[in-house]
């Protein structure tokens, strides 16, 4: 009986009700699948406004599980969640990097997200319940200056390490109402401008508001909002919608997670 109640409380419908009523809300839940799982963050890329993006990632199957000859796939999407390209990378080092420029993305000067999945044909050293997640690092170079780095921040999509399962999502949970508030713990008073990059981590439409303006973000889409407010509070129906922030002063730029 106890385990039945426990399972009911953890079911998707129960989570939605809890989140909608703000009763012990659940932001993120990774399910243990019956296969070894590779989970990816949604990593922001920028090639707009003089930006290029460097991606640094490690061979975590080799590092933690001593699995050799694994490979990664990077799936690039534009801001409207249209697939741009899939890059398969073999011959991995313990630590690797990739420069994402507009040339790399067929002359696209814009922004969007990409995902990284680790694959191996040899998954016998992994348990069926193993879940790996490469949190990685992103460096943003503004006008060819030094890359400023941030780490991965939001678990979004997953599939099986043996690449035989479809890609799934909805690790981040939602609410029926716009009852989730997140206030960024930074005072934005000293900048010329601030860009807030929002990514919808779910397969549902996300609504959010800030500075009394309402926004609607389609599944897995990306949006930038410019702001000059000193205090930034976001209200939404998503339990984890925390933008990546670019703050500007003079010719200098700072990027960080909120």
């Amino acid at each position: 009986m106890k385990s039945l109640i426990k399972n009911l409380l953890k079911s998707e419908i129960s989570i939605l009700i809890r989140n909608s009523l703000n009763i012990k809300p659940i932001s993120i839940k990774t399910n243990q699948e019956n296969y070894p799982t590779t989970v990816s963050d949604a990593f922001l890329w920028r090639t707009d406004k003089g930006y290029k993006t460097k991606f640094k990632y490690s061979d975590i199957l080799n590092f933690f599980y001593k699995i050799k000859n694994s490979w990664v796939e990077l799936h690039f999407y534009n801001k409207n969640n249209q697939l741009l390209k899939i890059e398969k990378i073999e011959s991995l080092n313990l630590s690797n990097e990739l420069e994402i420029t507009s040339e790399y993305l067929n002359d696209i000067k814009d922004y969007g997200v990409f995902y990284i999945y680790h694959f191996s044909e040899n998954d016998k050293d992994l348990n069926n319940g193993s879940i790996i997640s490469n949190r990685c690092y992103l460096g943003f170079s503004y006008n060819n200056n030094l890359h400023s780095f941030i780490h991965g921040n939001i678990l979004v999509k997953f599939t099986s390490v043996n690449s035989k399962q479809k890609i799934s999502t909805d690790i981040v949970k939602t609410s029926l109402f716009n009852n989730q508030i997140y206030t960024i713990q930074k005072y934005f008073n000293d900048f010329d401008n601030n860009e807030l990059f929002f990514v919808n981590p779910t397969s549902k439409i996300i609504e959010f508001s800030l500075e009394n303006k309402k926004f609607r973000l389609n599944p897995h889409c990306t949006m930038v909002v410019e702001t000059q407010n000193s205090i930034i509070s976001i209200k939404s129906n998503c339990l984890f919608i925390r933008p990546t922030i670019f703050s500007y002063k003079g010719k200098y730029m700072d990027v960080h997670h909120s």
Binding site: F63, N145, F149, Q185, Y187, Y252
Partner: protein
């Protein structure tokens, strides 16, 4: 409970914004800001609430910051609770999900700036352990200079020297070692030759937060690495991380 910290350095300046609100409720608190630091093997406590800049934030400028000091929010009950021999979990105001954070910014005079949302959780203060951080994940061989800031806070008011190492995971050799201190913000400079995939930063006796700084043409990058257990979300994370740490410890032993 979270503590906060800054960086005092010859080239790098720092500033800290400590919020007086939780991130899910914009309700302002009247908590005061305190600093403490170790002196003669005792914690010294001081009220620094005069650093409040408005109803939302305390703001510590570079001249208000010391590498030995840590900062936290509390009310006047702190004077009864404070134990000069051991840091404690004084209140729950900063126990939030998502984590309660300050904005820690580094900058150089007439140059660039870089920040991250920073905290040092009380749960880390009680523990000893090993840092493990991939150097090439955040160090930048294109930069003029690369530093790793290693912040340690330990519950006892001691400034004990311990070692940090740059080890080669392939050759199983120590490439370089450094002496750093507990209850300090330590800074080590990284030789560009050691920015390679097989080089890892590790410590033996104490935990800490490794934060990487790169500098070029007055532009800065400032970010911490993930602890290794964040790469595995399943139950085998503790086994796998302890296996890796054992392998690294064998190199430094």
């Amino acid at each position: 409970m979270n503590y906060f910290f800054g960086i005092k350095h010859d080239i790098l300046k720092s500033e800290i914004q400590i919020p007086l609100f939780q991130n899910r409720i914009l309700k302002l608190s009247n908590l005061k800001l305190f600093k403490c630091y170790p002196e003669n093997e005792k914690w010294v406590l001081k009220n620094i609430s005069n650093t409040k800049i408005n109803e939302y934030f305390y703001f510590l400028k570079n001249e208000n910051i010391s590498n030995k000091e840590i900062y936290f929010l509390a009310d006047d009950e702190i004077y009864k609770k404070f134990d000069e021999t051991k840091l404690d979990n004084f209140n729950s105001f900063t126990d939030t999900k998502p984590e309660f954070r300050s904005n820690l910014k580094i900058y150089i005079n007439d140059g660039g700036f870089s920040s991250y949302q920073s905290e040092y959780p009380y749960s880390m203060i009680k523990k000893r352990g090993t840092i493990l951080s991939s150097v090439s994940s955040l160090a930048n061989s294109d930069a003029e200079k690369n530093y790793i800031i290693i912040k340690n806070i330990f519950e006892k008011p001691i400034e004990e020297i311990f070692k940090a190492y740059l080890v080669n995971f392939k050759t199983k050799k120590i490439e370089e070692s450094f002496e750093i201190k507990t209850n300090n913000t330590n800074c080590i400079e990284i030789n560009k030759k050691l920015i390679k995939p097989e080089i890892f930063l590790t410590t033996k006796e104490y935990l800490g937060i490794p934060i990487y700084v790169s500098l070029k043409n007055n532009f800065l990058s400032f970010e911490h690495t993930h602890p290794p257990h964040e790469y595995i979300l399943s139950r085998d994370k503790f086994i796998k991380v302890s296996e890796i740490k054992k392998e690294i410890n064998e190199i430094i032993d």
